[in-house]
């Protein structure tokens, strides 16, 4: 990374921002240079997204300055930010569901367009061009019909079409698999070479160290340090973020013999009309099973199918030796089998309800006394216990979930799953947006649960996580299990090989 650092394009001076009693940013200073890829790291709730929202004009700072090209500016709206050449990929996907992919991508362009009439053909043609670099999404499809990962890609494509000098990417790879992430990094490097400055927020150290020029660390709303990545080690960043050393990112794997012969889950010949076919596998007691695959391979569909959340599924499922005849997801929960959704905003949390009532939602009866009366005390105690376990950072337990940072919302979603003491949990992208510290806490919790005999199945797009946490990884390709890897075979190369289309390469449509 021997980029010649040029002039500072954006400077944040002593910027503060509070939400009521919560001080999200406290006198932050920050510099962005022309043509650099500048990573920002920090715990959940450190204030990263808040700072970006201020830069994009979505939020107004309480005090402090934004200096662009040496001139202090007041950015009052995203419209203005756009005029100033700032592009932003949001942490939370914000797309228009009833509108086509192409229109979503070019919404900003349409907005400033001088022409009166829409030229849909042109839009779709150009959208195809944009996607040529990224992924193959049909631009005429309505966004509401896309999976969450594809929506993430659309969100990225949207920012790429902007004619901007500063591009902000707030955890863009959280829902992407390795392939798409690598494509994105290629594009980023390309843009940086053209002199565009990029702010890149991520919790994945590997990405930061492989692709960025500098890294700034935030903690508790304060800027801690900025370094060239060449000068430091990932552990230094983690240390600065968390304020302590995390020596072991992933917990110990199951010890030799800890995985018993008992099966927790057995799936045989599971099929769904269009989404997946003839899926069979087993999960042993004490084992953590991973599921890998490319975007749209059908991983989520399979586990949702197992717990009867979606789809018209045929096939047999045994839980702890008992053959299940589930009619719906309620039956599944009753049996102790729960699913953590990959789309936390869409179906994971109740944004406008309190943290405590989110955590208790899976089985409110648990916090209710006789006559089905909810005991507010018990409810808050439950949320508090789980929140502490997951290192949840919040104002008060009666605040709405919408006031939490992305990663903390994810923790609420996980707490909800844990609240019912399940016998088997399917976790779909469980650590999406979660910081390194909390992530390793979650991994530890998962291992402990597995040791206690709870079945754990993890779907993740982050291969290092799967490799680090799981004892065995199933790979799904186009709705079928294309293989599995254990022990020494668990390498990114092997998984990628099984996941990608090797034969019949051309048959995409």
């Amino acid at each position: 990374m021997n980029i010649v650092m040029q002039d500072v394009i954006l400077k944040i001076e002593n910027l503060s921002k509070s939400f009521g009693p919560v001080k999200a940013l406290r006198g932050v200073n920050f510099e962005l240079k022309k043509g650099e890829i500048h990573a920002i790291a920090g715990e959940n709730g450190a204030g990263k997204s808040t700072l970006m929202n201020v830069i994009d004009g979505i939020l107004q700072p309480d005090s402090g300055d934004i200096v662009l090209d040496g001139k202090a500016v007041k950015i009052s709206s995203p419209t203005m930010a756009q005029q100033l050449g700032i592009g932003f990929v949001h942490q939370e996907i914000a797309l228009c569901p009833d509108v086509s992919v192409a229109e979503n991508i070019f919404m900003a362009t349409t907005n400033v367009s001088r022409s009166w009439l829409m030229d849909y053909k042109k839009l779709e043609r150009e959208a195809v061009d944009v996607f040529r670099q990224l992924s193959d999404i049909d631009p005429s499809v309505l966004v509401k019909n896309l999976s969450i990962s594809n929506q993430q890609l659309v969100e990225i494509a949207k920012a790429l079409t902007l004619d901007c000098r500063i591009l902000i990417l707030d955890e863009p790879t959280a829902a992407l698999t390795e392939t798409e992430a690598q494509t994105l990094f290629g594009i980023m490097r390309n843009l940086a070479d053209q002199g565009i400055s990029i702010i890149y927020i991520s919790h994945r150290m590997v990405e930061i160290f492989d692709n960025c020029d500098r890294v700034s660390v935030f903690r508790d709303g304060q800027h801690i340090v900025t370094n060239d990545v060449a000068d430091i080690q990932p552990s230094d960043v983690v240390n600065a973020m968390v304020g302590r050393v995390i020596d072991n990112l992933y917990p110990e794997k199951a010890a030799e013999g800890a995985i018993s012969e008992e099966t927790v889950l057995k799936v045989k010949g599971l099929s769904e009309v269009t989404r997946f076919h003839d899926v069979s596998f087993e999960l042993k007691k004490g084992e953590i099973l991973g599921i890998a695959g490319l975007i749209g391979a059908g991983r989520s569909e399979i586990v949702k199918g197992i717990c009867q959340l979606e789809g018209d599924v045929t096939g047999d499922v045994w839980l702890n030796g008992e053959k299940l005849a589930l009619r719906n997801y309620q039956d599944s929960i009753a049996k102790g089998m729960v699913y953590l959704s990959e789309d936390r905003k869409g179906d994971g949390v109740f944004l406008d309800m309190s943290i405590a009532s989110n955590v208790s939602a899976l089985k409110v009866e648990q916090v209710a006394g006789p006559l089905g009366l909810i005991q507010t005390g018990a409810e808050e105690a439950q949320a508090e216990a789980l929140g502490r376990k997951l290192n949840l950072k919040c104002g008060s337990l009666s605040d709405p979930v919408s006031s939490l940072s992305g990663g903390n919302q994810q923790k609420v979603a996980i707490a909800k799953m844990l609240s019912v003491n399940p016998r088997l949990i399917f976790l779909d992208e469980p650590t999406r947006g979660v910081d390194v510290g909390a992530k390793s806490e979650i991994h530890k919790i998962l291992r402990d649960l597995a040791n206690d005999g709870v079945g754990i199945v993890v779907i993740s797009s982050e291969l290092p996580e799967l490799i680090g946490v799981c004892d065995r990884v199933l790979v799904v390709r186009e709705g079928r299990i294309s293989g599995q890897v254990t022990g020494e075979e668990m390498t990114e190369e092997n998984i990628m090989h099984l996941a990608s289309v090797t034969d019949a390469q051309a048959s995409v449509a």
Partner: protein, 331 residues
């Protein structure tokens, strides 16, 4: 970390002083506005603060109060019901018609309430199973129920003067100085307010309305919840219809024309969201009281008919604006 609460101290919310908690409540703004109107009216008219006037004013909103309970719960679950006015009328008409055909009035009333419940279930079916929107289904039912009222009465009000006194007692009697109607109203309000705040059953209504998909992913049978709230709303219409019948001693096929908008407005003023997920019985009742208070006051002050609507609309707009700002400042 002064921007986060230490979780160990998190459940201290219950120790906050009562006044502060009151101040934080969603409903406080409305209470303030209503009290202000009360104060103004007490000065404006010497007759305002009389027992008889208070009694008459409360009688005027008591039965609508039942409807607003059902509507609020339905709104919280994410639905809406335009048929409340005509289903209430239908309850009167059917019970009255059965009574005139010789059925015991209590049995007739039970049958009418059951019919309304059935109508609610029918709407619930179309919404949850067929997948139509509440708005359009309840609009169709509004028209059909009104048609049924016409059919059963030939458009003529049914005179039910012969209803037995013990039946009329529900609508016209008093316990001590308190009219039964008000007692029924209070019982329903307190019961439903409590249940909505405290029971697991009704909590699921909030979950469903807040994010139906997330609720389904939390194992809540959201369709069942919506089915039940839709049905409950119509059942309450049935009960309200019977009380009105007992009170007026007649069944009017044209009763409650346009009532749906008043009821929805009351619930919304009281904090219910048209997008579901929030609302409270207390708030909705305050909304009904506010609307009714304004009407009663204008009548008491003998404001010209030609000005009343303008004033009424303006007060409504002013009230919701003030309430909005009061809530914003606290939020």
């Amino acid at each position: 970390m002064d921007n986060t609460v230490n979780l160990a101290q998190a459940d201290s919310a219950d120790n906050t002083p009562f006044l502060k908690r009151l101040f934080r409540m969603r409903e406080t703004g409305l209470i303030v506005i209503i009290l202000a109107l009360f104060l103004i009216m007490s000065f404006a008219s010497p007759y305002f603060l009389t027992w008889a006037n208070m009694r008459a004013m409360s009688m005027a909103f008591a039965v609508d109060g039942l409807l607003v309970i059902g509507m609020t719960i339905l709104l919280i679950s994410g639905g809406i019901d335009l048929s409340v006015g005509s289903v209430t009328a239908l309850a009167m008409v059917i019970a009255g018609w059965l009574f005139l055909s010789g059925v015991n009035p209590w049995v007739a009333s039970a049958m009418a309430i059951a019919l309304c419940t059935g109508i609610g279930a029918f709407m619930g079916f179309f919404v949850t199973r067929v997948g139509l929107h509440h708005f359009i289904v309840s609009l169709a039912i509004m028209v059909i129920a009104r048609g049924a009222c016409l059919l059963f009465t030939g458009g003529r009000p049914l005179g039910l003067y012969t209803l037995p006194p013990e039946f009329k007692f529900i609508g016209q009697g008093t316990i001590g100085p308190i009219p039964i109607v008000i007692v029924i109203f209070l019982v329903f309000v307190i019961a439903f307010d409590f249940m909505l705040r405290r029971t697991t059953m009704f909590r699921k209504v909030f979950y469903t309305g807040s994010n139906e998909k997330a609720a389904a992913y939390s194992g809540i049978r959201t369709k069942k919840v919506i089915f039940l709230t839709t049905t409950l709303c119509s059942t309450l219409c049935g009960i309200a219809g019977i009380i009105y019948m007992a009170r007026f001693g007649s069944a009017q096929p044209t009763f409650g024309l346009g009532l749906e908008l008043t009821i929805i407005a009351a619930a919304v003023i009281g904090g219910a969201s048209l997008n579901g997920g929030s609302g409270s019985i207390l708030g909705a009742i305050l909304g009904v009281i506010l609307l009714s208070l304004v009407s009663s006051s204008l009548a008491l002050l003998d404001v010209s008919v030609y000005w009343q609507d303008i004033i009424r609309g303006s007060i409504l707009l002013a009230a919701v604006t003030i309430d909005h700002y009061l809530n914003k400042r606290r939020g």
